[in-house]
Symmetry: C2
Subunit: 605 residues, 2 copies
Amino acid sequence: MPAIVSRYRSHTCGQLRSSDQGQRVRLSGWVHSYRDHGGLVFIDLRDREGLTQIVFDPDTCGQAVHDEARKLRSEWVISIEGAVGPRGQGLVNPRLATGEIEVHASQLEILSQSPTPPFLPDFEVADADAPKEERRLQYRFLDLRRAEMQQTLRVRHQVTRIMREYLGALGFWEIETPFLTKSTPEGARDFIVPSRLQAGSFYALPQSPQLFKQLLMVGGCDKYMQIVRCFRDEDPRADRQAEFTQLDVEMSFIDRQDIIGHMEGLLVQIWKEVLGIEISTPIPHMDYDQAMNLYGSDRPDLRFGMQLHDITELAHTTDFGVFKNAPMVKCIVVPDGAKMTRAQTDALALWSKEYGAKGLAVTKVSGEGFDTGIAKFINPIAGQIIEMTGAKNGDLLCFAADKPKIVHRVLGELRLKMARDLQLKPSSQFAFVWVVNFPAFEYDEQEKRYSSTHHPFTAPLDEDLKKLDGRDQETIESIRSKAYDIVCNGSEIGGGSIRIHRMDTQQKVFSLLGIDDAAQKLKFGFLLDALQFGAPPHGGIAFGLDRMVMILRNIGNIRDVIAFPKTQSGADIMCGAPSPIDDRQLKEANIRSIMPVIKPPAASE
Amino acid sequence: MPAIVSRYRSHTCGQLRSSDQGQRVRLSGWVHSYRDHGGLVFIDLRDREGLTQIVFDPDTCGQAVHDEARKLRSEWVISIEGAVGPRGQGLVNPRLATGEIEVHASQLEILSQSPTPPFLPDFEVADADAPKEERRLQYRFLDLRRAEMQQTLRVRHQVTRIMREYLGALGFWEIETPFLTKSTPEGARDFIVPSRLQAGSFYALPQSPQLFKQLLMVGGCDKYMQIVRCFRDEDPRADRQAEFTQLDVEMSFIDRQDIIGHMEGLLVQIWKEVLGIEISTPIPHMDYDQAMNLYGSDRPDLRFGMQLHDITELAHTTDFGVFKNAPMVKCIVVPDGAKMTRAQTDALALWSKEYGAKGLAVTKVSGEGFDTGIAKFINPIAGQIIEMTGAKNGDLLCFAADKPKIVHRVLGELRLKMARDLQLKPSSQFAFVWVVNFPAFEYDEQEKRYSSTHHPFTAPLDEDLKKLDGRDQETIESIRSKAYDIVCNGSEIGGGSIRIHRMDTQQKVFSLLGIDDAAQKLKFGFLLDALQFGAPPHGGIAFGLDRMVMILRNIGNIRDVIAFPKTQSGADIMCGAPSPIDDRQLKEANIRSIMPVIKPPAASE
C-alpha cells in the first residue's frame, strides 16, 4: 500500500524494515497488545497493514509520556512519533514483517480511548475460544479489525479489481442496471418495494440483471460487465444471503466457445494473482449426462474419484428383488471402507433415506468375495463387479437401486460424504470443469408443466431447435441448451448461456412453458419487442462473487466473506434491521402492515 | 477496443483503415443505412465502434448474395465477409474513421430481421425532429443504439474505471455495504422493503452508505471506496432520480486537507483522460460566508463575474424607504444590460418574486448617472455605487433589499439567469472551487429546532468544539464544521466532511439536535458503541456520478446519462415498473395495499 502521509502518520504499521533504522516516523493505530516490563512499556500498534512494536522508555520519551503510555489499554487509538531502531539480540520476530525493528517513541497522542471491548480482535474463527458468531455480528466493527477478516476484504477487493481490469482490457464496459425494477413472479421470490407515487404498485429488487443485460446487447452495447448486487427472498439456508453479489457479463456476436474461452482467461488471472496458482487450460468440458452418470451431480467435485458404476444390466441377472426390479442400479467403491463397523454402515443406510433412497446396500470386499447380508444374492456377479469397478480387498461397495434421479442423488451425495469423512478433498487443490449440454427443460410433476432448467431466455442447441415444435415428452426432454456452468471443487461458481435472439424462437419457448400470448405480452412484451427490432446473437455468464471468495480463502461460512452480512433469518443484528417503521411511512407507501394473529394468553387468576 | 474475434467477426465496424486493404474480413452489426445504386448496394454497417461501408457488387458476391442484399432494411442485424478495398476517387469520407475504405462483400448472413422500428437511432437529442423522450424511453433498446448515447455510456465507464484505478493505487479497497438496511426517518424519505420472515418489520434502501463507511473505519479498514447506488424517495424533480450513483470514499487518520488533496488528484485525472483538459491545482477554497456574500450561493458558478456588492451602509444614507429600512441591500451589475426594455426589466422584477423578493429595483447606467424611477432616490450615492461596483455606461444595476437570506437567494439566482440569458457560461470551461467552513447547524423556524447543515456525524472545527456546550442561538449558529463541497460550474459534484470520532462529541451533537438519550440509543446505538470502542479520526466524501457525467458530456438531462432511467414520476416505461403485484406476493410480504378512495362517478340519467 502506498502510505498516505498525513499529520497522523508517515508510515503504516506494516511498513518499516531494518533499512529504515534511524528514521523519525509517525505511526497511528490501535493498541493491539500491551506489556509493562518494569521501566519499559511495549505496545504492539496495529493498523490494516500490520503490527509494529513501540517502546516507551522514560529515558527517550521522558517521564510524562511514559506515564501516559502506562495508561494505555487494548483497542485505544493512538498516534506516536519516534525513531526506528533495531530489536535487541534474540528479540527479532521472524513471523512479523516489521519484526526486525521497533520504534522508540518520543511522543504519544491518545486519539480515542476505549473501555474493555466485548471481545478482542486477536482470534481466528476456527479457534476453540472464538466468540460466538452472533456476538461477532453484533459488534461487527470489532470483528472487522481481525487480521483474518482484513485479509478476506483485501482479497475480495483484489478479485473485483482483477475482474474489472481483465474485462476492461477486452473492451467490456461496466454499465449500471436499475435496482427498482418490475416484479416477475416466475423465478425465486422477489423483494418488493411499494411505490409512493403510484398507490397499489410495487417495484421489485432484481434477482439478476438478466433482461437488462440482454436489452443492452439489443441496444448495441456489445460487451457489458457489472459487479452487481442481486436479491432473492429465499427461505433461510446456511450458505445463502438475501442480497448477494455477482459478476455479470454479456457479449454480442459470439457463441458458447467464445465466452468460455474469455472467462477461462479471467479465472486463470484471478487464481494466479490471488493464490499464485496456475490453472491449466483449457478447462475440461463435461456433458451434463456424463456428469450425472459418473458423479450423480451436475456440479461434480473432480478432486477425487469414486465414480458411479452402472451395473444395472448385471444386477438384473441376479435373483435379488431389489436389484432385479430397479430401473437403475449403480455403485461406488469406498476405498478402504471395509473397516467400517456394522453400526457405521447401518448409519449410512439411514442417512441415505434423507435423499430419497429406500435403503443402501453395502458389501465389503474381502479375499473371499463379498461378505455381508446381500452377498449371497450378488456373489454370482461378484467377479464381474470387481472387474468393472476395480474394487480391491478392504474396499466397501455401496449400491443404490431406484429410479435414475434417486440413484444419482443418493450416490452423488454419498460420494461427497465419504470424501469428506475420509478427507479426500485437498483444500489447496482446485479442480475446474465446464458442464455443458444441459437439458433445456424439465417436466415438473407437481405443476404438470415444463420449466426451464436455466431460464426461459436460454437458447437451445442449433441442432435441437426444430424439436421446439415437438409435443411429446421424450422430444421436449431431449432438447439440450447452450447453457454452461463452471464448477470448481463441486461448487458452481458461475453459469450462463447463449440467449435466444429471435422473437419467434422466444415465443415458442414461452408457449412450451405454458405462458400464453397474452401473458407473454404482459410480462415480457418489452423483451419480445427488443428481439423483434434487430437483436444480435448474444450470451453471457454470471459468477457468484461471495462463493468465489469463499473458495479462494478456503472459508466455509458465507457471512465471513461479507463486510456486513445478515443472519440466516435476514437480520442485521448490529443495526437492528429489519425494524418496525412509523405509521407515516406506511401510509406514504400506501400499505398497511398485517401482523400474524396472536391469541392473547389466557388470563390466569 | 481490442476486437474479440469470433465466427461472427474479425474486426469491429470502427477498426479498418487504408493499411488493411486487401485483407479478408468478417464484420457484424446493424444496417445503419442502405442505398441501392442500380447494380450496387451500399450499406453502412454499424456497431458500438463505428460505421463501415459495405458494397455488394454482383460481380464480386454473385447474383444470389446481391439479391439477398437488396432485401436488407434499416436495423437488420447481419454478418458479412469480404475484402477491404479503397474507396473510389472523391468518395473518401474524412468525417468517418473508416472513411478511406469500404468492404466488398462476398458473403452475407442475415442474423435478425426487423420491421420498421418506431424510430431510427440516427438522431441527436438536440435535433428538432428527434423523437419525444417518452418514446425514446419506451424503446430504450433502440435509443441506446445512438452514437451520442453510446459515447455517454463509454465515458461513464471510463470515469468509473479512472476512479477505481486512481483510488486503488492509493490503497483504497472497494468494500460493499448492504442494500437492505435500517430505516432512519430523519433524512429524506426512505424506500421501504417489507420483511417476509419478520412480519411488521421493514428494511430501507440506503440513502447513502454513510454509517457503514464510518463503521468500516472503526473496523480498521483504513481506506474505503465504493461506486454505489443510493435511493431517495423524493418528490419528482427534473434533475433527480430516485436511484442514483455515487462514488463513496472514506479514510482514516487524515484531516480535511488530506482528503481534499487526494480528491483533487482524482478530478485532475478524470478531466485529463476524458476531456484532455488540465485542471489547475490547487483548486481554490472559498469560505461558505464568502460564497454567500459574493455569489449569493454556496455553489458559486465562477465562470463569470457579476459578483454581489454590499451597499447596505450607503443605502441606509438615502431617503429611499425600501433601502433605508432593509437589513441588507446588495446589487449586481449586468454588463450591457441597459439595452433591456422596460418590459424586460419588469419581467425580471416579477420573476424575482418566485425567490421571495418583494421586488427588484433596477437602474440603467448612462452617461448622466442613473435613469429609472428609483434614480432620484439613489442619485446621491450614484457615484459611490459606480466606483464600488465598477459599473460602466450601458450596464444595468439590479438591487435587492431584504433579509440577507432573501437578498442572497434572489441576486444569486438573478446572477445565474442573466449569465444564461447573456450566454456568459462557456460550456467548454470548468471552474472548480472548494466551499469550506460551513455553518454546522441551522435553525429550522418551522420545526423550532436545529438541524445539521450536512449530517449529524459531521465534525465541528476544532476551535468551535467548545461552543457545543453553548445554548444561545448566536453561539450555536457560529459553529463551523469540517464539511467541504466541491463545486464545478455552479453544480455541487461532491461533498464530504471529517466525521466526529469521539462518542462524547457525537452525543453532544445529537442532544443539540433534539435527539434525547433514549432516541440516540434506539436509532444510533450501534454508532455510539462503535465510537466508544476505539474509533480513529476519519472523514470522506461522496461524488455524484450522474452529475459528473452530465458535466463531462455537457448534457442537461440526467436521464440521458443513465442506461435505464426512470421518468419524473418514477416509472420505467419500457418494463412497466412499478406495477400491481398479485395477492400472494402481498400476503407473503405481510402487507396490504391501500388504494386511495376514489368516489364512483354519479350515475347519469
